[in-house]
């Protein structure tokens, strides 16, 4: 098969791959239309694109890579694949640009739940896939994703391994659906997920991202979820990459009337992660809770951009992201809340807190509001600080050694977020990730904020 370069997609190569995969012609056309859009686009430029202002694309992302599609491990499960979210009710594993396996429990299948390869679904569930795939990205010229940048349109054109999930109306899944993206081969990986929840459906989707040590790869991921009326959706995304992975992710939910959506991202791995958890509130009464925790260490760069669009009236959003940093690391929080002029009765809040543990780390925070409607309640805030010397002294004065006291305080910092998630396995997995980072931290280097000390007489 023709080698496909991420930076030089060709109509010929895309057509060849689509045909070889047995995709229906509408899907091939869909890909080619996206490909045509990419031709007019450049890769993001910090000087021109405000959403890229803080992260220099050309320095943090290498697009001069071949697109990995073969599934280099065949049907062999790579030894490096480990799951921390061990809730194997339903599991799909995407390895090196191919679907390695799909496990759909009988109890799910009996209720009409579909979990399958996206290419297969394009044939077998053509109506659903056709009407929704790309509808939140660049395929819909009237949609909120119409102006997606090139990192997204290349996915629309050239996505490889994909998963399709359909939870029919009124089906409430008690166990989560796990989708694991695992990378062993160098190159560009373009995983894609499309999920549709019918009205009054309930589901939790766990996205777990892992890689082999030392693999040099770019992962450009797009996840679209349509949550129809009064459905309940949880998305949990764990970024557990090894050091060599660059990760671009758009995880976007369209929330219809009276839906309840939670999104939790836990970012600890990867050299650069730019994560866009987005939610369009298109029906009245919809609620979204975008939550994030992250821990950036030496050399890591995390750019987190939750984006909520209040398009319908009387919807609610509450964004909370908390991150800790150490070593020469960088985090960017750019929260966006957009309130349409007709979205009366909107209730929104957005907050970011950063804990700088050692010298040399830098956290940028921009909790941004774009409000076209007066009749709303909106709040936003951000704060960056260090560990409070008084907290540390209090714990130490009770006999707790400094290292252990610091660990307790850092874990406590994240508790506010994790305390909101009651999904099976998630808190343990997230805490384990954070604790592993704190364990590895050079606690002797931790700087504390002693400003509060001066207030005591």
């Amino acid at each position: 098969m023709t080698d496909l370069l991420l930076d030089q997609l060709t109509e010929e190569a895309l057509t060849g791959r689509s045909d070889a995969a047995g995709e229906p012609s509408w899907l091939r056309d869909h890909r080619l239309a996206a490909f045509k859009r990419t031709l007019d686009q450049s890769w993001p430029d910090s000087r021109k694109d405000e959403f890229w202002r803080s992260t220099p694309f050309d320095r943090r992302f290498d697009v001069d890579r071949s697109v990995v599609t073969s599934g280099t491990t065949g049907t062999v499960v790579p030894a490096s694949i480990t799951a921390s979210l061990d809730e194997e009710a339903a599991l799909v594993r995407l390895v090196d640009g191919a679907v390695l396996d799909v496990h759909l429990p009988t109890s799910f299948a009996e209720r009409g739940v579909v979990i399958t390869d996206l290419a297969t679904a394009a044939n077998e569930h053509a109506d659903l896939v056709r009407s929704h795939l790309g509808s939140l990205t660049s395929a819909d010229p009237e949609g909120t994703g119409a102006h997606s940048d090139k990192t997204v349109t290349v996915s629309d054109a050239a996505w490889t391994a994909g998963v399709f999930v359909h939870v029919p109306a009124e089906v409430e899944l008690e166990a989560p659906i796990s989708i694991q993206v695992h990378v062993t081969a160098p190159g560009a990986h373009l995983p894609r997920v499309l999920a549709v929840l019918g009205h009054h459906a309930r589901a939790a989707i766990y996205l777990e991202h892992t890689s082999e040590p030392d693999v040099d790869a770019l992962v450009d991921e797009v996840v679209e979820v349509i949550a129809q009326d009064a459905s309940m959706l949880d998305v949990v995304s764990l970024q557990r990459w090894d050091d060599g992975v660059q990760h671009l992710a758009l995880q976007k939910v369209q929330a219809h009337r009276d839906t309840s959506v939670r999104h939790l991202s836990v970012t600890t791995g990867g050299s650069t992660v730019r994560l866009l958890p987005e939610c369009d509130l298109v029906g009245p009464g919809a609620e979204v809770r975008p939550l994030g925790i992250y821990f950036a260490d030496e050399g890591q760069w995390f750019d987190l951009q939750p984006y909520v669009r209040h398009i319908a009236p009387h919807a609610k959003s509450d964004v909370l992201f908390k991150g800790a940093l150490q070593g020469r690391s960088r985090t960017v929080f750019r929260g966006n809340i957009y309130v349409h002029k007709d979205a009366v009765g909107t209730d929104t809040d957005e907050n970011n807190r950063s804990l700088i543990l050692t010298e040399g780390a830098r956290a940028d925070a921009t909790p941004f509001l774009e409000i076209e409607c007066a009749d709303i309640t909106a709040g936003h805030g951000s704060a960056t600080g260090q560990i409070d010397a008084l907290h540390l002294f209090y714990l130490e004065s009770r006999g707790i050694p400094r290292d252990e006291a610091l660990r307790l305080i850092v874990a406590g910092f994240f508790r506010e977020v994790l305390g909101e998630i009651d999904l099976p396995g998630v808190e343990d997995a997230a805490v384990a990730e954070i604790e592993a980072r704190v364990e590895a931290a050079d606690l002797d280097q931790v700087q504390v904020n002693d400003a509060a000390l001066q207030d005591l007489g």
């Binding site: 002294f393 714990l395 130490e396 004065s397 005591l456």
Partner: protein, 246 residues
């Protein structure tokens, strides 16, 4: 030699000397009340004993059971049996109270108390001190009223079983019932193995915890010492007389 020997202690904070040479002796089994008006340096002494990072010892010594505390970190002092019930207990968001207490008990006793046994002990102490069991779900001091924080300090002392308890204004912010409960809690801990240093502005708490000795501090120095009757004098005449004699 007394168990606690403070000799010519000089302490400064933020570049200002607050204690100008303080001498105190206290043996285990005894209770010493340190009284004085606001700003006299009582809390500074308490913090210096516990090793608060904002206070620098510039001279003199604090010896506890023969060991110089000034050379030790706060947790090392706690392991030697030193406990400070703070005037303003700190809220530490997100750190669960149960986890904190168990970590502290294990660290001080250098053992690993089984969770069940620990929880039993904790619940006993909570009911004795009238602390609501629902607090187990909370973070350290978070959402506690002033009185609840003070009770929680004594609860910690009860679990950590110190040999030297420094109670810094433990009575302030407590109504009479709460004061009695807290004082009873302290008295339960008392015995031949515990020295108590009560720091207080008012004599109120001394009606429930009887001191063997009373020192009065003013402007960073001990200006008067005596038996329990000294507290009664202060109750009657206030600190005004001292200021003229100092």
């Amino acid at each position: 030699m007394a168990d606690l020997e403070i000799r010519d202690l000089k302490v400064e904070a933020d570049g200002t000397e607050l204690l100008h040479g303080v001498d105190i002796e206290l043996d285990k089994g005894k209770t010493l009340a340190l009284m004085g008006p606001n700003g006299s340096g009582k809390s500074t002494l308490a913090y210096a004993i516990a090793g608060h990072p904002a206070y620098t010892v510039t001279g003199g010594s604090v010896r506890w059971k023969g060991t110089e505390l000034n050379d030790l970190t706060p947790d090392e002092r706690a392991k030697l049996g030193v406990f400070l019930a703070m005037q303003y207990p700190v809220e530490v968001p997100g750190v669960s109270l149960t986890n904190f207490l168990r970590t502290a008990v294990n660290a001080v006793n250098e053992e690993d108390v089984p969770v069940r046994e620990f929880m039993t002990r904790l619940r006993e102490q909570m009911s004795e001190l009238g602390v609501n069991q629902s607090f187990l779900q909370r973070s350290i001091n978070e959402g506690f009223s002033g009185g609840e924080k003070k009770r929680f300090e004594i609860l910690q002392a009860a679990l950590l079983r110190p040999e030297l308890a420094v109670l810094d204004e433990t009575d302030s912010g407590l109504d009479v019932d709460a004061l009695k409960t807290v004082a009873e809690g302290v008295n339960r801990l008392s015995g031949p193995d515990l020295g108590v240093l009560i720091i207080t502005h008012y004599t109120r708490i001394l009606r429930y915890i009887e001191p063997d000795e009373v020192h009065v501090m003013f402007e960073g120095r001990i200006v008067a010492s005596g038996g329990p009757e000294l507290a009664d004098e202060l109750e009657e005449h206030g600190y005004e007389n001292l200021k003229t004699t100092a």
